[in-house]
C-alpha cells in the first residue's frame, strides 16, 4: 500500500514528461481519488443492509428514487420540447420540481412503513435525496461549464463531489449504521476488523464502522459554520480597516495581531470553556481563532492593491470609494481569501478534534472522527491501528475535498491564472 502511494507521488513529482503527459497523469490521479471516495461512500451505504434500525434499505432506496427521478426528469426535459415550455426557467428547475414531487409522494409511504419515526425518516430521505440529486445535476450540467476551465474546473468538480458524497453519507448516517454508534460494549473492546465488525471496535467496544459513517456530522457542521463566520467577519474588517488606514487600522491590526500571537488551540479552549460545549459554541470559538488569518491576508493584499495603478486610475476617472472597494479591491482580494478558506477547513476540523479531546466539544460518546482520531493516536502503539486509520481517512478525504474546491476556485476566479 505504502509503496503504491509512494509510486503515485513519484510519478506525479517527476517533471521529465511533457506537460500534457504530466497533466494527464494528474487528472488520472484526481479521477482515482474521486472514484475512491465515491466507491468508499457507496460501500459504506451498501453496508446499510445490516442497519440496526431496520430501515436502512428504505432510506437508501428512497434517496436513490429521488435522485433517479431528478435524473430522468433532467434527461426528459432536454429531449422533450413540451417539458421545456412547461417550466420556462429551463431543465434544471423542472428536474428539481419533479424530485420534490417524488419526495412529497414518499411522505405517506414512509409514515406507513415506519410508524414511530416516520416523519424523521422522511426528512432524512428528503435531504439525502436532494444532496444526491445535486451531485447528479452537477455532473450533467456542471461538467460542460467546468470543462472550459480545464484542470482547475476538474479540481472544483472533483472536490465538490467528494464533499457532497461525504455530506450525503453523514446525512443518512443515523438510519444506515449497523450498530448504534454511541452505544458501548457492542462487541469485545479492541476487536480487530472481522466479519461482524468490518472496521473493528474501539476500546469501549463501540463499532468503528458505525462511528465512521456517523462521525462526520460534527466535523462538517463545525467546519462549515466556523469558516463562514470567520470569512464574514475577517474579510470585511480587513477591507474597511486597511483601505482607509489611519488609527482604525492600527487598532484593529493590534487586536488581530494579539489574537494571532496567542496559541490557537489554547485560545479556542478558553473561549469554548467560557461559552460551554455545543456545535455552535465550538464553531464560534474556532472562528475567533482564525479571523486574524483572513484579516492578515486581506490587509496585505489591500495594502498592495490600493497602491496599484488601476486603483489610482479609477480614482482619476472619478470612481466612488464604495465602487473602488467593491469592484476593484474586493475581487482582487477574494481569490486569496478563498484559498485561506480552503486551508481553514482542514485547520478547523483539527481544532474541533482538539476541543473534543479536552472535553469542551461534545460528549465523548458522540460519534466524531476528530475524537476517534485523537484518541486513536494513543492506542496505535498498542497495535490498535484500526481506531485512528478509518476516521483518519475520512478526515483526509473531507479536507482534500475542501482543498481541491478552494484551489480550483482560486484559479477560476483569477482570470489571469487561466492562461
Amino acid at each position: 500500500m505504502a509503496s503504491l502511494v509512494n509510486g503515485v507521488f513519484y510519478q506525479l513529482g517527476s517533471a521529465k514528461q511533457s506537460i500534457s503527459e504530466h497533466s494527464r497523469k494528474w487528472c488520472a490521479v484526481l479521477l482515482v481519488l474521486v472514484a475512491f471516495t465515491l466507491a468508499l461512500v457507496a460501500t459504506l451505504v451498501g453496508l446499510a443492509l445490516r442497519s440496526y434500525k431496520g430501515f436502512g434499505v428504505v432510506v437508501v432506496s428512497g434517496t436513490f428514487v429521488t435522485a433517479g427521478t431528478v435524473f430522468l426528469a433532467r434527461v426528459i426535459a432536454s429531449l422533450w420540447q413540451k417539458a421545456k415550455t412547461l417550466v420556462r426557467q429551463g431543465p434544471i428547475p423542472f428536474a428539481l420540481l419533479c424530485g420534490i414531487a417524488a419526495i412529497v409522494a414518499m411522505l405517506p409511504i414512509s409514515l406507513v412503513i415506519n410508524r414511530s419515526e416516520g416523519l424523521a425518516m422522511w426528512s432524512v430521505i428528503a435531504g439525502g435525496g436532494l444532496v444526491l440529486s445535486g451531485m447528479i445535476l452537477l455532473l450533467i450540467d456542471g461538467y460542460p461549464v467546468f470543462k472550459q476551465y480545464k484542470s482547475p474546473g476538474y479540481m472544483v468538480l472533483g472536490g465538490v463531489m467528494i464533499v457532497l458524497a461525504l455530506v450525503y453519507m453523514t446525512w443518512i448516517a443515523y438510519w444506515i449504521v449497523p450498530y448504534d454508534p454511541f452505544e458501548i460494549e457492542m462487541g469485545h473492546p479492541n476487536t480487530p476488523p472481522c466479519a461482524e465488525f468490518p472496521m473493528g471496535t474501539t476500546s469501549l467496544g463501540q463499532d468503528m464502522l458505525s462511528r465512521v459513517i456517523a462521525g462526520g456530522a460534527t466535523m462538517l457542521q463545525v467546519a462549515v459554520l466556523s469558516v463562514i463566520v470567520c470569512f464574514c467577519i475577517g474579510v470585511p474588517i480587513g477591507l474597511l480597516a486597511s483601505y482607509r488606514g489611519g488609527a482604525v487600522d492600527k487598532v484593529v491590526s493590534l487586536v488581530m495581531d494579539s489574537i494571532f500571537a496567542f496559541p490557537g488551540l489554547v485560545l479556542a479552549i478558553a473561549i469554548a470553556a467560557m461559552l460551554g460545549p455545543g456545535v455552535v459554541n465550538m464553531a464560534i470559538s474556532i472562528a475567533v481563532v482564525y479571523v486574524p488569518s483572513y484579516f492578515r491576508v486581506v490587509r496585505s493584499q489591500v495594502l498592495t492593491i490600493r497602491e496599484l495603478a488601476y486603483v489610482e486610475a479609477a480614482i482619476i476617472m472619478g470612481a466612488r470609494d464604495r465602487d473602488i472597494l467593491l469592484r476593484y479591491v474586493l475581487p482582487n482580494v477574494l481569490p486569496s481569501s478563498v484559498v485561506v478558506m480552503s486551508i481553514n477547513f482542514a485547520d478547523a476540523i483539527l481544532t474541533a478534534a482538539g476541543l473534543t479531546f479536552v472535553g469542551l466539544g461534545l460528549p465523548v460518546d458522540i460519534a466524531d472522527w476528530g475524537w476517534d482520531l485523537t484518541y486513536g493516536f494513543d492506542v496505535i502503539t498498542l497495535g490498535y491501528w484500526w481506531v485512528p486509520t478509518f476516521p483518519g481517512i475520512m478526515v483526509v478525504l473531507l479536507a482534500l475535498g475542501f482543498t481541491l474546491t478552494g484551489e480550483g476556485l482560486n484559479e477560476i476566479l483569477t482570470p489571469k491564472l487561466q492562461e
Binding site: 486610475a313 470612481a319 466612488r320 482582487n332 482570470p415 489571469k416
Partner: protein, 336 residues
C-alpha cells in the same frame, strides 16, 4: 483664444524624513483651447507631480502647499452637493464630491504603464460601465457597453473584444483601451503622463498618430508629459521645459527647437541624437540635478550651466518675455 487651464504659483512639497523636497516650485502656466502643451524635462524635475497636482492627486507624502488651479467648464456639471457653474472653477478650492465630478468628466489622465492601469478582474466592458455609471448613475449597463464599443471601434479595436479581460490584450492595445476609457466621458482636458514610454517605437508612433486624430475629433486640449523631445516635436503645439520643479522656458514648439533661449533647453536639445549627423559625438549635460531637499540658492541650474554668472548663484530668475515670443527664466535675458 480661450484658456482652458490656468495654473498660478503652484507649489507642491514632498515631506520626507530627510526634510521637505519642493517638487513643484511656483509654477504658473496656461493652456489654450485645443492646444497641446508638452511638459519636458529630465527625470525627477516635477513634471509628473505637476500633472497630478492639476487633478489634486499628488501621491503621498506630497502636498499642494500654495497656488491655484483654474479650469474652464463649457457646461454646468451637477454633482451630489450642488452644481458646478459653467465658466471658470477653481479646482484647488473644490470639495471631494465636486472634485470627483470633475475628475474623469472634465479632466482625464493617462498613465505611463498600461500593463497595470487596468483592473485584471474586470472585463474591458466593465471598466466602461464603471466610469460611465460613476458620473451618470442612471445609465443602463447596455447603453454604457454600447458607448464603450463605439469608442473602442474609433481606436481600431474590434467591438467584440469588449468582453475580454485586460490580460488578453497587448501593451499597445491596453494603452488604446486606457485612452478610450479616458475619452468616453468627452473630457475637455487630457493629461497624458508619458503615455508611450513603455511601448516600442512602432506602436508609439501609431498611438501618437491616433491621439492626434482623437484630439481633432473630440475637440481636446492636451498636456503631454514626456522626457522624449522627439515625441513633443511631433505632437505638441507649445513646450514648457522644467528643471528642479521650476519652469525654465515656454515657447511654441517650432521656436523652441529653432531658437532655444535658456541654456538648459539648449543643452537638452544638444543631447538629442541626430541621425543626419552620424559623426557628431553625443553631448550631455555634465553633473547631476541638485538634491531638492537641500535646494541651491539662485538658479538651480548654475553649477551645470556653461554661461553661469555671479548673480545666478544668488538670485532666482523670474520668467520674462524672451525675444522669440516665448518666456524664459534666465539672468541672461534679464529677469532679476
Amino acid at each position: 483664444m480661450k484658456d482652458i487651464l490656468r495654473v498660478e504659483d503652484l507649489i507642491v512639497d514632498y515631506v520626507t524624513r530627510r526634510g521637505v523636497a519642493r517638487a513643484v516650485d511656483r509654477v504658473s502656466l496656461t493652456v489654450g483651447e485645443n492646444r497641446t502643451l508638452g511638459l519636458a524635462g529630465e527625470s525627477g524635475c516635477g513634471k509628473s507631480t505637476l500633472g497630478r497636482a492639476i487633478m489634486r492627486l499628488v501621491p503621498y507624502p506630497g502636498k499642494i502647499v500654495d497656488g491655484r488651479v483654474f479650469l474652464d467648464l463649457d457646461e454646468d456639471i451637477p454633482y451630489e452637493n450642488g452644481v458646478l457653474k459653467k465658466g471658470e472653477v477653481e479646482i484647488t478650492a473644490l470639495d471631494e464630491e465636486a472634485l470627483r465630478a470633475v475628475r474623469g468628466k472634465e479632466i482625464a489622465y493617462i498613465f505611463q504603464d498600461p500593463m497595470t492601469s487596468l483592473n485584471p478582474m474586470l472585463r474591458i466592458g466593465d471598466h466602461f460601465v464603471q466610469i460611465l455609471q460613476a458620473h451618470n448613475p442612471e445609465m443602463e449597463k447596455d447603453e454604457a457597453l454600447e458607448r464603450g464599443k463605439e469608442v473602442l471601434e474609433s481606436l481600431g479595436i474590434l467591438p467584440e473584444r469588449i468582453g475580454d479581460y485586460p490580460h488578453q490584450f497587448s501593451g499597445g492595445m491596453r494603452q488604446r483601451v486606457m485612452i478610450g476609457l479616458s475619452l468616453v466621458m468627452r473630457p475637455r482636458l487630457l493629461i497624458a503622463d508619458e503615455p508611450t514610454t513603455s511601448l516600442d517605437v512602432i506602436v508609439e508612433a501609431q498611438i501618437l498618430e491616433e491621439m492626434a486624430q482623437l484630439k481633432e475629433k473630440f475637440n481636446l486640449t492636451m498636456i503631454l508629459i514626456t522626457h522624449n523631445l522627439g515625441v513633443l516635436a511631433q505632437t505638441a503645439d507649445d513646450i514648457a521645459v522644467m528643471y528642479t520643479g521650476r519652469i525654465c522656458e515656454v515657447a511654441t514648439t517650432e521656436t523652441l527647437f529653432e531658437d532655444p533661449q535658456h541654456p538648459y533647453t539648449q543643452a537638452l536639445l544638444e543631447s538629442v541624437p541626430d541621425v543626419t549627423k552620424p559623426d557628431k559625438k553625443l553631448s550631455w549635460i555634465p553633473g547631476a540635478p541638485p538634491d531638492l531637499v537641500e535646494p541651491l540658492p539662485g538658479c538651480m541650474f548654475h553649477p551645470r550651466c556653461p554661461k553661469a554668472m555671479d548673480i545666478c548663484k544668488k538670485k532666482v530668475p523670474k520668467l520674462v518675455q524672451s525675444n522669440n515670443g516665448g518666456v524664459v527664466a534666465c539672468h541672461l535675458y534679464g529677469g532679476a
